[in-house]
C-alpha cells in the first residue's frame, strides 16, 4: 500500500519529536532531514497541532514539541488526519453485479487487515522498530 506524502511526513515528524519528550524541532530541521519543502511540512504540522499531537513553541529557539501519548497514538490515528484508509463506500463500476460484490468483499478483506495493522502500531512501537532497524544496520557483516 502507498501512503500520501502528508501522512508519511506526519509520521516522520512525530517520530522525530517523540524520540525525546522535551525535544523541539523546527519545520526547517525536519524538512532538511527528509528532503521536503518547508511549505508542505508547515501545513502538515498545522494539522498535527490542531489534532493535539504536537504543540507549537514560540520564541527564538521555538519549534514544535510532541504533545501526544506515545503509547496511545497509533499510525492509523495519524494517517486518518490526512486520508481515508479503506472503507471506500463510494460507488464503483460493476458494484451492482455479483462479480462486483465479490470483488468488493475481497478488497474489503485487504482494507480490514490494513486498518487492523495500522491501528495496532503505536508511536512507541514504531520507535522500537526504528531502533531495531538502526541496530541491524550497524551489525557487522560476517
Amino acid at each position: 500500500m502507498k501512503l500520501q506524502i502528508s501522512s508519511r511526513l506526519a509520521i516522520f515528524a512525530l517520530l522525530e519529536l517523540a524520540a525525546e519528550s522535551d525535544r523541539q524541532l523546527s519545520v526547517a530541521g525536519i524538512g532538511e532531514e527528509y528532503g521536503v519543502s518547508n511549505h508542505h511540512l508547515a501545513k502538515v504540522m498545522n494539522v498535527l497541532v490542531r489534532a493535539g499531537l504536537v504543540r507549537s513553541v514560540r520564541g527564538a529557539r521555538g519549534g514544535y514539541q510532541f504533545n501526544g501519548n506515545i503509547r496511545r497514538t497509533t499510525l492509523l490515528d495519524v494517517i486518518e488526519l490526512f486520508e481515508n484508509i479503506g472503507a471506500d463506500v463510494s460507488a464503483a463500476v460493476g458494484d451492482r453485479t455479483s462479480q462486483g460484490r465479490a470483488l468488493r468483499e475481497v478488497l474489503g478483506e485487504i482494507d480490514d487487515i490494513a486498518r487492523a495493522t495500522l491501528g495496532s502500531i503505536t508511536i512507541a512501537t514504531m520507535l522500537k522498530l526504528v531502533e531495531r532497524r538502526r541496530n541491524s544496520g550497524r551489525r557487522p557483516r560476517t
Binding site: R71, T74, D112, I113, A116, T117, G119, S120, I121, T122, A124, T125, K128, R132
Partner: protein
C-alpha cells in the same frame, strides 16, 4: 523454569512461576472477568495438558511477590513449542494471555511474555507466534509493542453449509 522468578514490573514486584492446580479456580475467575464467559472445564483441561512441568508446554502465572493486591493471580500465559504444523519449523506458540484488568499497565503482561520467551529459547526455538482477532485492539497493541510482526502465514476459514 525455576520454581519462581521474581520480576520488577511497574510498581508491582512480581513472581512468575508455573501454574499449580490450586491456581486454576483463580485462572477461571480471571478469564470470566475478562471475557464474560466461565470456562471451568476448558481451563482444567488446559492445565492437564500444559501444566505440571510438561516438556515444551508452559502454563505460567504471575502473582504479586507480596499479597499486596488482594488478588491471587495477576495474570497468566499459556504456550507450547509446535513443530511442522502448517509446514512450519519448530516454533513457540502463545495460545493464551490474560492480565487482571485492575492491574493492567504495570508490566504484568510484559513479564509473562518475557518469561515464556525465555522458556521457548531454552526449548531451542528462535521464533514465537500467536494469533489475535483483528478487532482485538488491546491484544494487538500489546503483542506489537513486544516486537511481534505479521508472520508468513494467513489464517483462512469458511462457514460450513
Amino acid at each position: 523454569m525455576e520454581a519462581s522468578t521474581a520480576v520488577a514490573a511497574g510498581k508491582h514486584s512480581l513472581s512468575v512461576r508455573r501454574a499449580a492446580d490450586t491456581d486454576i479456580p483463580h485462572v477461571v475467575a480471571l478469564d470470566e472477568r475478562v471475557t464474560g464467559l466461565a470456562k471451568s472445564a476448558y481451563w482444567h483441561d488446559v492445565f492437564e495438558r500444559f501444566g505440571q512441568s510438561r516438556l515444551e508446554r508452559f502454563f505460567l502465572v504471575a502473582e504479586a511477590a507480596q499479597a499486596e493486591s488482594g488478588l491471587a493471580i495477576l495474570g497468566f500465559i499459556v504456550g507450547e513449542v509446535r513443530a511442522w504444523e502448517f509446514g512450519s519449523a519448530p516454533c513457540g506458540w502463545v495460545l493464551a494471555l490474560s492480565v487482571e484488568p485492575r492491574a493492567r499497565l504495570h508490566g504484568i503482561g510484559q513479564a509473562l511474555f518475557e518469561a515464556i520467551s525465555i522458556e521457548f529459547k531454552r526449548a531451542g526455538v528462535g521464533k514465537m507466534r500467536t494469533m489475535v482477532a483483528r478487532d482485538n485492539r488491546l491484544h494487538l497493541l500489546f503483542f506489537r509493542s513486544e516486537g511481534m510482526m505479521a508472520g508468513p502465514y494467513i489464517q483462512l476459514e469458511k462457514e460450513l453449509d
